[in-house]
Each structure stands twice: as structure tokens, then as C-alpha cells.
Amino acid sequence: MSVTAAARIGAARDRYGGTALPVLAGAGPLALRRTRAARRGEARVTVVGAMSGPLGGDRLRIEVDVAAGARLTVDSAAATVSLPGRERRQARYDVRLTVGEDAELRWLPEPVIAARGSDLRMTTRVHLAPGARLVLREELVLGRHGEEAGHLTSRLTVEQAGRPLLDQELAFGPGAAPGWDGPAVLGPYRGVGQLLLVPGPTPGPALPLPPLTSRTALAGGGVLLMSLAPRTAFAQSAAAEVAAAEAAAAEAAALTG
């Protein structure tokens, strides 16, 4: 039996300069917990997987709306493991993020792991108002330890003030377009991570990047870090590299004020 579930988070600035959560509605496997925020003025929500999944045929959706001036971090308690399930149908996972003027969203979920035999289509669409700030991390892992990858297609579309900022789709695993595991796309690597910072940190001194990582300024503003990792133990490799790069970027921002 497949699951259809939509969770919603709404954050708004309260009268004390903090962030309230007028909407916090988990659904099905997407249970939501308000957790302790690391920074003043910010709210934090952790997505707690109430069951394993998504499984084949599931349709999961998360909608996040950060109203003007509010600051929200969303993370997750564990990796999302895409599994085949009994129904041999594609699962869907759709994320819709809206960030208002002078608001900030840090969207920092744990990796999505495409287990063998799974088939998942993810879409992440982000609408940023003018002056909105975003830190977005996406990490995809090709199979659990020692197994071949399932099929995963992930499209990330970010617009700011109605203009396209980033539009990227990555597909891998059985059923993906030929060449996905070849020398132009993913080669032998088993994990791919992206970290998007909008606006980008002010360019500081040139910081060394880990291997297989690029840091690039987007045409419409913002900086994208992209990283590939050799093993499925992504948390210890690419995620750490991306985190190091994020720290380096934040450090650069601090250095330049």
C-alpha cells in the first residue's frame, strides 16, 4: 500500500524579533519536530522519519514557507533511503520552498540514498523573494554500502524574484540516460553533493578546495559548491568536504565582513 503525504512548515517573524512556527504539520512518514535553534532569532525544525521510505509508489511532499524577516533551519534526523517496496512504481518526493523578503532558510537535510532496485523522482523548487537568503544542501548517494545504485532523478530549480538562478537535473541508476556512470557525468563516484549559498559570500582570499570539488559563482548571484565522493560512506567523505567548504566560505564571509 503506497503512501501519499504532504507536510507543511510555515515560519513567521514574531514581535520579539524571533521566529514563530504558525504552521507545523507533519504527515505520514514525514514527522516534524521543533528542535533547538543554534542561533538567536531563528527557529529550527527537524524532519524525523516516522517510517522507512519512500517506497515505490509513495508520493511525499514538503512545503516550507518562510515569511518576510523570519529565519528557519530545516534538517533531518537520518538519511532518506529510497527503497523498492512491493509496488514496482516510481516514488515521488517533491519539496517546495518559498522564502520571503529579508527572510532566511537553511535547508540542510541528510543525504538521500538510492538503494538497489528503488526508483525515485525528486523535485526541489525554490522561490526566493528579492533579498531572501538561502543555504541549501543536497547530497545523493548511489546505493547503500556495497550495492549498486537504484534509479534516482533529482531536479533542483531555484528562482529569485521570478528569474531563474539555478536549474539542474541529475539522473543515475538503471533507467537513467546512458553515460551517467561514464567519464563525463559521475564516473566511478558514489556520492554527489551540492551546497548553494544565496547570496554568495563576499569573495575573500582564495581558499583551497578539497579534491573533486568546485566552487563557482552563479550568473544570477549566489555561489554553488559541487563535490563528488568515491565511496558510499558519504557522510565521512563528500559531506565532510562540503561541510569544510561551507565553513571555508563562511570564514571568507566573516573575513571580508
Binding site: T157, Q168, A177, S214, T216, L218
Partner: protein
């Protein structure tokens, strides 16, 4: 503006169009000797050869297959959409969003500027003039290619075909120099990819057709992390054979 679009692309409408000379125009546009500057670019093959991702004809075939279905598909759809009459500036912004690597964006605009010069001399058109005026430092190459095809009387499917073919012919030609690969083997790689090149052009033309009603966000956005990451590194090499 000439409106020569048909339904979604088919092999027949790529080859056959009612405008006299269109088939030859497609050959001319796809000819490596057409003076549009493409010969100076390897499409990421130079970086791939340097770090051992391409060592021989088999590696070249793998590389071309991946590039065709990612960067090639995106370029082909943008080109077809430009030929079909979608707003070239919206397509130019869509190309920016689909090219996170600043190095690759700059290459695409440089190639667009060079193609623009050749195209305006070869097939003068108001559409090319308007885009050149709006983007004097160069529009993205696939957008210019699409308007060039339109000016030459070609349908969107032909523009898609030219872009899809170009996405692999560049690396194949470059590999001959980079690896001292037998040119016969490089040509064989392209010949064996032909059915996939045709299929990619058809997919791209259908996407461009859909974008007429659903907007440019309906165009494909397939990404190739190794191409993106290595392009940034390659652009910083002090000495290289190819500009990209």
C-alpha cells in the same frame, strides 16, 4: 520572423524542408570548417584526458555518450526552442541557470559571439541582429545556433540535430589530437552514437515544442557533475591545447 516549425521532430523533417537549400544549410552549419570557432574547444575532453578519464576510443565513446545526454540534450533543446520562436533572452537566462560553472558560461558566450559573427554574414536576419544588439558580449551559443537555423530556413528539429551532433563531434575531434587517437576510430565512435544523437535531437525538439505552451522551465536541465567540476579546474591551467 519565419515560422517553420513542424510538430515534434522526426528524421524526415530534419532532412526534408520545403525551403530550397535548407538541407545544405544544415550541412554547412554542422561542418567543422564553418568559421564559428568551435575547433578551439574540446568540450571537456582535454581535462578528461589529463586526469585519465579518457584513455582510448572506448573511453571517448563513454565520454561522448554522457555528454550527449546531458550538455548535448540541454543545448539541443535550447537551440530548437530558439528556432521555434521562444524569447531568445528568456532562453539565454535559462542557459545561465543550467550552466552553474562560470568557466562554461563564459565559453558558451564566447562561442555564441563567434557564431553570431559568422551567421550574420552567412544568413542575415532581423532575429540575429536583435539578439546581437541585446547581448553585445555574446549570447549563449545554443540560442545563437537556434536563431541561425531559423534564419537559414531550418526547422527546430534541425537546430536540435546540429546542437546534439556538435556536443560530441567537438570532443571526438579534440581526442584525435589529445590522445593521438586514430581519426578512423574517432569517426567510428560518432557513427556508432548516431542513433542516440538522432534520439536526443528528437527528445530536445519535443521539449522545445512543449516549452511553447509550458514556458522555458519545461526545457531539460540534465547536468554532468564531472564536466562542471573539471571545467572550473581546466580554465585555471596556465598552458592548454584547447580553450575548454
Amino acid at each position: 520572423m519565419t515560422e517553420t516549425d513542424t510538430e515534434t521532430g522526426t528524421d524526415a523533417d530534419t532532412a526534408g524542408t520545403s525551403i530550397p537549400g535548407a538541407l545544405t544549410a544544415l550541412l554547412l552549419l554542422s561542418d567543422g570548417r564553418f568559421p564559428a570557432g568551435g575547433h578551439a574547444h574540446s568540450g571537456g575532453a582535454e581535462a578528461a584526458v589529463a586526469d585519465g578519464r579518457i584513455r582510448d576510443a572506448a573511453g571517448l565513446a563513454d565520454f561522448c555518450r554522457g555528454r550527449l545526454h546531458t550538455a548535448g540534450l540541454v543545448a539541443a533543446a535550447l537551440a530548437a526552442a530558439a528556432t521555434a520562436g521562444l524569447d531568445p533572452l528568456a532562453l539565454d537566462a535559462a542557459a545561465d541557470a543550467r550552466t552553474p560553472s562560470a568557466a562554461l558560461r563564459s565559453v558558451s558566450r564566447r562561442l555564441g559571439r563567434q557564431l553570431m559573427r559568422a551567421a550574420r554574414a552567412t544568413w542575415p536576419s532581423a532575429g540575429l541582429d536583435a539578439l546581437a544588439a541585446a547581448r553585445p558580449r555574446g549570447a549563449h551559443q545554443p540560442v545563437v545556433l537556434g536563431l541561425t537555423a531559423q534564419a537559414a530556413g531550418l526547422p527546430p528539429s534541425a537546430a536540435a540535430h546540429a546542437a546534439a551532433y556538435e556536443s560530441v563531434s567537438g570532443p571526438a575531434t579534440a581526442a584525435v589530437r589529445l590522445l593521438s587517437l586514430d581519426p578512423f576510430h574517432a569517426a567510428a565512435v560518432l557513427a556508432r552514437l548516431a542513433p542516440q544523437i538522432d534520439a536526443t535531437a528528437r527528445t530536445a525538439a519535443s521539449a522545445a515544442h512543449r516549452a511553447r505552451t509550458h514556458g522555458v522551465s519545461a526545457l531539460p536541465a540534465a547536468s554532468a557533475p564531472l564536466l562542471e567540476i573539471s571545467a572550473e579546474d581546466h580554465a585555471a591551467w596556465p598552458v592548454r591545447l584547447f580553450a575548454s
